[in-house]
Symmetry: C2
Subunit: 193 residues, 2 copies
């Protein structure tokens, strides 16, 4: 058993000891909202947005992007589980700003091992073989965070399965301060029609 697995199971055992009333939480989010944000390790949406267990849906992927899968999750969130407000929260210093589809596909073509980033950009460090399969994936990279939040809020707003009466708020989380900074154009684009 790996050290990480041991640590996770030990932490889980400690968590269960004071589980208490959480056993009775219902399935629908008690505070009726959902957050779409990045998988970045520095982000803890429960902490940065003040969520207790049972409060809100949290959807996370690389970049916090409004991918088809994030929209699948959001539609389930309101249609079956009654959320009524949504947040799209990207963040500063995001890994998605450090590469392009072309860079990622070149890296994966030469090796599947972890690459390294230095002053000359990304480069492979491990041996091959790689795979050309990266070409079939859109990595949803980001050039400008305010723009990506705006685009993602707009994409959700315009989706035919998203009702007009759900407000969508656009924010960027600052990894240096913990602050949620509104992107007013995004929140405006996400307002109830």
């Amino acid at each position: 058993m790996s050290e990480i697995l041991k640590e996770v199971l030990a932490a889980n055992q400690a968590y269960r000891k004071n589980f208490g009333d959480k056993a009775h939480l219902p399935m629908p989010p008690g505070r009726h909202f959902a957050i779409l944000t990045c998988m970045d390790a520095r982000l803890d949406p429960a902490k940065y947005a003040g969520l207790a267990e049972g409060d809100a849906h949290v959807i996370r992927n690389a970049g916090g992007r409004a991918s088809d899968d994030a929209i699948r999750s959001l539609v389930i969130s309101y249609k079956l589980l009654g959320t009524r407000e949504w947040f799209v929260i990207h963040h500063t210093d995001c890994g998605m700003e450090t590469f392009t589809n072309e860079i990622m596909n070149d890296l994966l073509s030469s090796s599947l091992k972890t690459a390294a980033l230095d002053g000359n950009g990304w480069h492979d460090t491990g041996p091959g073989p790689g795979s050309p399969e990266g070409k079939y994936i859109n990595w949803l990279t980001i050039k400008d965070q305010a723009q990506s939040v705006l685009e993602d809020v707009k994409r959700i707003r315009q989706h035919p399965l998203v009702p007009a009466d759900i407000p969508i708020y656009g924010y960027i989380y600052d990894v240096k301060t913990g602050k949620l900074m509104e992107i007013p154009e995004a929140t405006a684009a996400g307002k109830v029609a």
Copy 2:
């Protein structure tokens, strides 16, 4: 400004006050692992698995499914940010067990408003119009949690962009007790080749 938005921003302000050393966390996860789990409001992976900010990537969607988008995120997680172990964690009493593609598409076709579940199954409560667009989405529903964990671990293991030397662990989180329960067949299917 909605009450939820006020509460989130107030919680964020409180969080920032003791932000401290977190300002200096690097982008790559310090403990080199990633968790794929469900968006369910009752789940807090940071709490149930013992994560501090900076420790691990957390990917979440409806069901914690190994969707194409989750695989996009996992490949970025190891290829660019160096994770070396992955967890797939579904959970008991998951909303994804309560419907099928057909049920969801029928509900969305009649109304976009939130539906209700009772002894007769799901039914629409709000007025239409609905949309036929649900037919173009695979909702990735779940019939059996142990089976869905196994399938998802296998799907990740077999993906051509996932190297053979990343172990993938399969677990179910019990929402009544907080316990992480291993699915041995899934972990076996996800072991290093």
